[in-house]
């Protein structure tokens, strides 16, 4: 189609944690941005455009905070764009950044996403009651837990599957120094006995609330060739949305997710994701979403996702590791989480994932983000080699 080929040439993130009490919000994003720039061998002056993504502004109580952070982002005198697509925002932010390069408008783009949830409270921020809008009486988990029940019924899944994911992702996180949760003693029993929040979800089946920032430097092919380190090439990007509620909606295995995956796989030449990817960084905020997304993303037929999880197919040393970084279950600065998925997929393809590096055999990885009532999806496939 003539789009400029685009690569990830720098990645940076803060050590995600419950509360960063030593920095301001601009300081937080700055930390991630500096690390990404250093990784790319660049300074702020080399950046042509800045894209920032985050969750609703009510989390931090600042209207359009990217405006107040323009200095910290080195964005003064440059294009600065703010993306907000609910939980998928981190992924969308990367895609919008990539579009700047693909459209030939920028050679180097700084993409940043963050959340400083400790300024308020994530539960409050997500469920602020609005007049005349049916309230989420049971919070965000109360929306997803019934869908998980529906999945368990459809797939006839045994009760412990979620716990397997809860343990797997936290053990993976032990290899990732940037992950928020480091739970070296976590066991299946511990998860199964943790506090029951929204049946069937237990405390350890759910993600933490984190302060954190993630940054990528995206570059055109020409600029990527000058990068000092290995780069990850963008092979495909896709976004899909569907309405929150409509007649006949499959909330458990949403069409928008399936369509989004099909689109990004087509662009990246992926026919069988289980075989044609080295790993996947997938937005799994509640443990059961791994088997659900395995089906939604076409890694298996509907009803079979839990079997893959149970068989260890997605384990760190499995056939197709899912969330080798520890995933959202180990770190969740909401606005950044999608970008962390996209960025960690890139790190795997750059061979920069340190102790949680998976073998790169095929040379492609999937980054995935979703948000809203399982209605907004953003995905990309990145590769160790340039696309054909």
């Amino acid at each position: 189609m003539g789009a400029v080929r685009t690569a990830v040439i720098g990645v940076g993130q803060t050590k995600h944690t419950a509360a960063r009490t030593d920095v301001t919000m601009p300081g937080l994003v700055r930390e991630a941005a500096l690390e990404a720039l250093a990784d790319a061998g660049l300074g702020f002056a080399d950046i042509d455009a800045v894209v920032l993504g985050k969750a609703p502004d009510t989390f931090e109580g600042v209207v359009m905070p990217e405006l107040a952070f323009a200095d910290a982002l080195g964005a003064v005198g440059k294009p600065l764009l703010r993306v907000h697509t609910a939980g998928s925002v981190g992924g969308t932010t990367a895609i919008v950044g990539a579009k700047h390069v693909m459209a030939g408008v920028a050679e180097r783009v700084l993409v940043v996403a963050f959340e400083k949830q400790s300024e308020s409270n994530a539960t409050w921020g997500l469920t602020i009651p609005m007049p005349f809008t049916p309230p989420l009486v049971a919070g965000a988990g109360g929306y997803f837990a019934p869908l998980i029940r529906a999945y368990i019924r459809r797939a006839n899944a045994p009760a412990h599957i979620g716990h397997l994911v809860a343990v797997k992702d936290r053990l993976n996180a032990l290899r990732n120094p940037k992950a928020h949760l480091h739970l070296p003693d976590i066991t299946l029993e511990q998860v199964a006995e943790s506090f029951l929040l929204w049946e069937p979800l237990r405390y350890l089946d759910t993600c933490p609330s984190s302060d954190g920032a993630m940054a990528l430097v995206l570059a055109s092919e020409d600029a990527a060739r000058a990068a000092p380190g290995p780069v990850a090439w963008v092979h495909g990007t896709a976004m899909r949305s569907e309405p929150t509620m409509f007649a006949g909606r499959d909330q458990v295995n949403p069409q928008a997710g399936r369509d989004c995956a099909a689109d990004v796989y087509r662009q990246a030449g992926i026919r069988d994701p289980r075989r044609d990817l080295d790993c996947a960084e997938v937005y799994v905020p509640f443990s059961w979403y791994e088997p659900m997304w395995l089906e939604n993303l076409g890694f298996c037929e509907p009803g079979e996702g839990w079997k893959l999880t149970e068989a260890g197919v997605t384990a760190f040393d499995g056939e197709i590791p899912w969330n080798p970084s520890g995933g959202v279950l180990s770190s969740n600065p909401i606005g950044a989480s999608g970008l962390i998925r996209f960025g960690e997929a890139a790190q795997q393809m750059r061979g920069r994932a340190g102790d949680y590096q998976v073998p790169v055999r095929v040379g492609k990885a999937l980054g995935h983000a979703y948000g809203g009532g399982s209605q907004f999806f953003a995905m990309w496939v990145v590769g160790a080699e340039p696309p054909d």
């Binding site: 301001t24 200095d71 469920t127 049916p134 049971a138 919070g139």
Partner: protein, 333 residues
């Protein structure tokens, strides 16, 4: 059933809405703003010197022009010069610090190259002018917030500002200030919209009235004004039954998630009302949580005093009928 043509039925429903994080936002400070707020608590104005030698106040963490980190703190002022001003004739109680009309001004403290926003306690706008000299009036009790500098006041020609009085605040004055708390309260008058108003007025009559688009069959409950699949307006009202089927649910064990949450454990469910195309979300009551099951038949539970309000439809309770066969609702769960 068609809508009533009673004009009062179309009057918009309006509700006052307050957006406020209880207790205010806790904002942690980095080194630059910690220096600034600690300075305020100590009765001093602190700026920063950027790498190119300019003095910036409030101390920016990053140079406004180059983005470079700034790490050298400099005391500035205490007096300053007004570089811009405006007047607030109606101060907002609880937000503006002064309860009498005042000026906002950009004030460049002596020794600084930039101006900071300040409140000037002046008797009238006639006193204000770009170029005038002002000095800080410090609060007697200072806590490391912007209000430690209670206000700027006009300075007579050649006069020096009063020094800051000793801090009367009881808390420890030796530790640097590392965070500030920022209360933010915003008020809104929100109207329900045409579709939602009709639905809520129906609830007030203990009726559940959905809507569908002209050329479609799907009845949306609650209606939102458009068919989400096409964007077409949903102009036709259809009353649906007050019975339905639980398609899925969960038992919540966390107290206090919402004002409407009953004591834990409680059940929230998706309920497919007979005749509706989309499930209704809400409470299931009238039985023990462990008795709730997918496919359970339920009927509406109404508040004693119905009002055009979502809370009038409290939730659903079991009817006692046999469960609906899986085939009749499996596409909804």
């Amino acid at each position: 059933m068609t809508a009533t043509s009673d004009p009062a039925a179309d009057a918009p429903l309006v509700e006052h809405h307050v957006l406020e994080y209880p207790g205010g936002y806790t904002r942690s400070l980095g080194p630059a703003l910690s220096a600034f707020f600690t300075g305020l608590r100590d009765g001093r104005l602190v700026g920063a010197r950027t790498p190119d030698g300019r003095v910036v106040v409030p101390p920016a963490e990053y140079d406004p022009h180059t983005g470079a980190a700034v790490e050298e703190w400099v005391e500035v002022g205490p007096a300053g010069t007004v570089t811009a001003w405006t007047w607030v004739a109606r101060p907002k109680p609880g937000k503006h610090h002064l309860d009498r009309p005042f000026a906002f001004a950009l004030i460049r403290p002596d020794g600084a190259d930039t101006a900071l926003l300040g409140v000037v306690d002046a008797p009238s706008p006639d006193v204000m002018a770009v170029g005038m000299r002002v000095g800080p009036r410090w609060a007697r009790a200072r806590h490391g917030t912007v209000r430690d500098l209670e206000a700027w006041v006009p300075l007579e020609a050649g006069a020096r500002p009063e020094p800051a009085p000793p801090d009367e605040a009881p808390e420890a004055a030796d530790e640097p200030v590392t965070r500030i708390v920022c209360p933010i309260r915003l008020d809104y008058e929100i109207n329900a919209g045409v579709a939602t108003s009709r639905y809520l007025r129906g609830l007030a009559q203990r009726r559940i009235i959905g809507q569908r688009a002209r050329d479609a069959q799907h009845v949306y409950v609650p209606p939102r004004g458009s068919d989400p699949m096409t964007g077409a307006p949903t102009e036709i009202e259809v009353e649906v039954a007050q019975t339905g089927t639980v398609t899925t649910f969960c038992i919540t064990n966390i107290p206090g998630l919402s004002e409407l949450a009953p004591p834990i454990p409680y059940v929230t469910a998706q309920v497919l009302l007979d005749g509706a195309a989309t499930p209704w979300f809400g409470l299931v009551t009238g039985c023990a949580p462990e008795e709730v099951r997918m496919g359970m038949r339920v009927r509406a539970v109404w508040a004693d005093e119905p009002a055009p309000d979502a809370r009038t439809l409290i939730g659903f309770e079991p009817t006692g009928e046999p469960d609906a066969p899986y085939e009749t609702w499996k596409d909804y769960a």
